[in-house]
Symmetry: C2
Subunit: 707 residues, 2 copies
């Protein structure tokens, strides 16, 4: 049944009244209990907001975040393992009061309908919600200074000017007295015109709460304003119209006549021997918990990961001209990957039989906002799983691999990111990210060159060099809570050619280094040694190889941060300094650039805002302990003309692959698609023994060769 709610930019908003009606139907839905990791429901969000509102009835409130408070790990695992009670359902709330920008953190108990804890925090700034970002355009369009800045370059209708609200980075001119945004300015020649073809030469700093423009930063060249690039570059159908070639590609239909291979019990998913829970929050978006697998050899269920999520990312731009140094978006910590998620549609974002999950966010008034189809779950054929032919007699066996993909796509102003959490039959978990959308552009003055810090993607349009750097948080639990990490380096054996032990010089081996403390575990990828890392359980030996069972981290697409050590970005995005961090598990250490990324300075040990750099500096033991791995990966992007006006999707990935975790190939249960045998021998001349005539095969004749 299609909901009759008013859909607003993809969200369906529930007021308390609407939620009350929703709740009244619950009696007919009774029975299934919440899973402790399920996101808050519409009614829960409304309840939480009402508890907070009634407590602070004297204050005017602006809700920033209402989200599930993850249960304490030990309590949750006790419940999961059947040895403890179900953890209490709690919500974490951030609220701003009375027009201020001080963070108030509130912990609410849902069953007890009460506030369990509350604190105010100084010198941090909360995340910018979509509503906050909307302030930017509204305020800027009405600001006399901005209007004048537009007039001076020949733009007189402010309805033609658009402002993308961005986090400000960190601006030392204002500190934490103001909740800042920067507004990047663009012009459109018509309503649906691509504004990124017409960037303006200025941006503003605005105060989000007081709704005022604080400063207009104009990048003048030789003291002069830079003209608006007026030429349009579009990609929407109304502009391309008969530029489409409709007969070139015949349709490919993907169907699953017997349905999907996975089942869902609430948000617990079972597929091909895997089980996992799928959660979602405003910040990380998809959260995958309790990944376990049914082992055909040990004939039991084995834990792999406690929790997987994309915990942070940063996109630093490489142009040093002011104010471009401020462009280094932390899309997860500053804006929230959940909040920016697209509602998805079958046949465009994914193909085949698809199960969608909705996301439930909150609004500034404490209403619930449902984002339909926020998460897509589907399967894809994954090519060859295995194949072998006995060359003697042609006996063949082969099977096809399958993958389960749990995905979401976010829009971060101009850019889009697709996140595809992928499991395949050989025990591999791979996070693939696809980058598409539109390049961030700035105008070039006449005669000005885009190089070396950018590419001129069209006349007068400069797309700056940038990096996309992500952090995947992996809380492993390979056959139990205590794991270790070993670094693997492929090295030539250190014996000269011709000497005993290396007579022919071909000896090489895998040098293994156990990472014992979190300081040791701040490691970089090394191509020279094809470096990987194994997460192992030192307490459990693989019965075949007699080595600890493990999963291998493969992260080859992991450029280091190119901003120089000591720079603003290097300080704020400390997590990008290494390909790998391993920390000892502690409650509430979820976000490697800090809980409060907006306007963060990156100063070490900032109260309530520690980063993975701080956690690693504790130098905790990480050997045979409850650990968390932070995997950095990404890409350095020197824009190409092909990326304009709309980027072809560029994939990159990081992978965790079973490595001596299973006794043998874990996918031998997959029935082969082909088994064949030809029992004759392979003597190619045998057939000619009789010298008899051979039959004719027309299309192999000389005149019309098949090949």
């Amino acid at each position: 049944m299609a909901p009759d709610t008013e859909i607003i930019a993809g969200y369906e908003v529930y007021t308390p009244e609407a939620a009350a009606e929703l709740k009244s139907t619950e009696s007919s839905q009774k029975g299934r209990p919440y899973h402790p990791l399920d996101q808050l429901t519409v009614t829960e969000i409304i309840e939480v907001a009402e508890i907070v509102t009634s407590t602070f009835s004297k204050n005017s409130l602006k809700f920033n975040v209402i989200t599930l408070k993850d249960p304490i790990k030990a309590e949750y695992i006790a419940w999961r393992d059947g040895v403890g009670p179900k953890p209490e359902r709690q919500a974490f709330v951030i609220v701003l009061m009375d027009g201020g920008c001080q963070v108030n953190e509130i912990l609410v108990s849902l069953p007890r309908k009460s506030i369990l804890a509350q604190r105010t925090i100084d010198d941090v700034m909360p995340i910018l919600t979509l509503e906050d970002l909307d302030v930017c355009e509204r305020v800027a369009r009405a600001d006399p200074g901005v209007i004048q800045a537009c007039k001076d370059i020949g733009i007189h209708d402010m309805n033609e000017v658009y402002f993308d609200g961005w986090a400000v980075g960190a601006d030392e001119r204002y500190g934490f007295d103001r909740r800042l945004q920067q507004g990047l300015a663009y012009w459109r020649s018509s309503e649906n015109d691509n504004q990124y073809a017409h960037p303006l030469d200025f941006c503003m700093v605005i105060d989000t709460e007081r709704e005022e423009v604080l400063r207009i930063d104009i990048r003048r060249v030789d003291g002069k304003r830079v003209p608006v690039p007026r030429k349009s570059h579009n990609f929407l159908p109304e502009f391309i119209s008969d530029g489409y070639i409709t007969d070139r590609l015949k349709p490919i239909d993907v169907t699953q006549p017997k349905g999907v291979s996975f089942t869902m019990n609430g948000n617990e998913l079972s597929w091909a021997g895997y089980k996992m829970h799928i959660g979602f929050n405003y910040r990380e978006g998809i959260v995958i918990s309790d990944v376990s697998v049914d082992d055909m050899y040990e004939k039991r269920r084995r834990m792999i990961f406690n929790r997987l999520s994309v915990a942070e990312m940063v996109v630093p731009y490489g142009n040093p001209d002011l104010p471009h140094h401020r462009k280094h978006a932390f899309d997860i910590g500053e804006y929230g990957m959940g909040l920016m998620t697209n509602p998805l549609k079958a046949g465009c974002d994914c193909k085949g039989a698809i199960k969608y999950l909705d996301a439930v966010m909150s609004t500034s008034r404490g209403y619930a906002a449902v984002l339909p189809n926020a998460v897509c779950i589907h399967e894809e054929d994954n090519g060859l799983l295995y194949k072998h032919t006995d060359y003697r007699d042609g006996t063949v066996v082969s099977a096809r691999d399958r993958k389960l993909i749990i995905s979401q796509i976010i829009t971060a102003a101009n850019y889009e990111y697709g996140f595809y959490h992928t499991f395949s039959l050989d025990g591999t978990y791979k996070l693939e990210v696809k980058l598409t959308g539109i390049l961030n552009t700035v105008p070039l003055a006449r005669g000005e060159s885009a190089t070396p810090h950018g590419t001129q993607v069209a006349e007068g349009l400069n797309a700056h060099n940038h990096q996309h750097l992500f952090s995947l948080r992996v809380d492993p639990a390979l056959d139990g809570p205590n794991n270790s990490v070993v670094q693997n380096d492929a090295v030539s054996t250190d014996i000269p050619v011709g000497q005993a032990g290396n007579l022919y010089g071909n000896a090489f081996h895998c040098k293994k280094t156990l990472l014992k403390t979190s300081k040791q575990a701040a490691c970089d990828y090394n191509h020279e040694t094809s470096r990987t890392w194994d997460i192992i359980n030192p307490n459990k030996l693989n019965p075949a190889c007699k080595k600890p069972i493990g999963y291998k981290i493969i992260s080859r697409e992991s450029p280091g941060l190119l901003c120089r050590p000591g720079s603003l970005v290097w300080r704020r995005a400390g997590f990008t300094r290494h390909t790998l961090w391993v920390t000892k598990y502690r409650e509430d250490e979820l976000f490697p650039a800090g809980n409060y990324v907006c306007q963060s300075t990156g100063q070490p040990g900032w109260p309530y805002n520690e980063t993975v750099v701080d956690w690693a500096a504790r130098d905790d033991n990480i050997e045979n302990d409850d650990i968390v791995c932070w995997l950095q990966f990404g890409i350095t992007h020197f824009p190409r003309t092909e990326d304009f006006p709309l980027m072809p999707a560029e994939p990159l990935s990081v992978m965790l692959r079973a490595s001596n975790f299973f006794e043998k190939n874990p996918a031998l249960w997959v029935p082969p698609t082909s088994v064949d045998k030809d029992n004759s021998s392979r003597d190619l001349n045998k057939c000619c023994g009789g010298g008899g005539s051979r039959p004719v095969v027309t299309d192999r004749s000389g005149a019309a060769p098949k090949l």
Copy 2:
């Protein structure tokens, strides 16, 4: 119509008589001329063999190779461009005479039915054909020494012993007087038992032509023989039987109700604006020539590549114990990727609507051998091509990518390799290789450890460390014959933080180094700088960015050779010493480890057997010239227990991506699958203004959350 020919291990063999009947049907097929790059047909091979046989009628002949002689590049291109006559069709033949092993190279003109040139070459060895490899098992089983070696470890029935013939590497004990193979010995407990679970502790060196065992190398441990691992580890259905789980995976059907999107004119393929010719030969297998694209902006056809092929590969093993140092298979140069190709079957090796091409090989008697369905051509959906949402009003556009895949799968004794030449809509060519099949194994003595040079994949079974290193030969022709190569390194700008030009320390750029000579162009991948290389045409500027048009080489999966400098493998596999070589084009320089790889010593400048190391050492100009790029890529494989007894396919790839080649995104002609718009604003609280009741959406109620 199914051919009535006798199929022998996948091949259909045509004697002269059979070919004559085939030829008699030509009259009904007339009209379509051969393309100069088409492989030899059945009748052509027979004709060539007859010309050679009649010329050398006094000799007993063993044909080693009968294949197309590629036309001289300048002549071919003149014809292709419509300014020269069609090149004469010629065959290249290698024949051994009178039981010897000296290489006789013969060039035959097909229209003139005559030998154009002939020469004998000393100190080189021809490729080992499948027929040659079969000699090994036959000879070994009958050899008294081998029989005794088996008896001594308790094996008395020689029909239970199997010998995989391998190239010998290089064995200084014999030089070029003998045509050598080594035989790796295995036991089977039943006819279809997996022999790689039962490796024996010895291997032999045999003389292929004289059919005799020259030497038996037994690897004794503490002076004692190593027992046969008797435990079976199987993967064929007859052994797994009820181990399959048939209800876990529901079928995924891929259909193309309107057929494929490509058309073929002979072996010339057209797809999505691309055109190319698909050839095939005994050695490189698939050869893709004349890749061009229809540019929607320049409104003309543009050349990209003259020729693409996988030109060599090597699989060195890292265990220094004799005789394992000999295990470093050059599967292309020593055995031939064409000869080892599998016949393919729809639904197992590929899915969807598939066009197969046959391959035509030759036999030792000079007969033609057709390998049906050697090449698979099909399309696949390739996920998101592009997507963008205007976050203001939810206007969305997205389209799906498509790929064209031209693939073959080879069996190299225990291993299989799938080669997938892939083109996608954004102008990318990607070669993906999938590794599957069975690990090479050796027995462990009681108490002996597999580490550090291998992994114990099962009790008593050691799978040695190894590398798979490939060489992709790219003959580029970006908008014309003369191209250059530029090395790209992502680097922080060299100005301290806080100084003019880098006030905030975020500046970075792409350092570009033009590679002027072939010595300069011997380059390695550098992860620190995310190194790539651009093949450019310096004579043609991109109209948007005003830089030379180009294609970017992305080769991140490119481990260096781990055998030490000076070692046997380092000498023989010189091509593996660098990620990139660029050489000036010269006729007949196709194979980077030399024309004759079997028993090659890797000595520089070997007559008739130069390698890419020799070509690079000429230090030719490669700037704005007719150049060839050699891209090395691969993987270092420390076996996992999961790889046994049958390896889950492991993918790796190398990529060439349009980089300022097109003025804009070259795929904007692709119709979007989704366009959507919601014109309302995005004020999440707007709906609540009226305070009216909201409709109920049952599955978002508290009781049964969708998420």
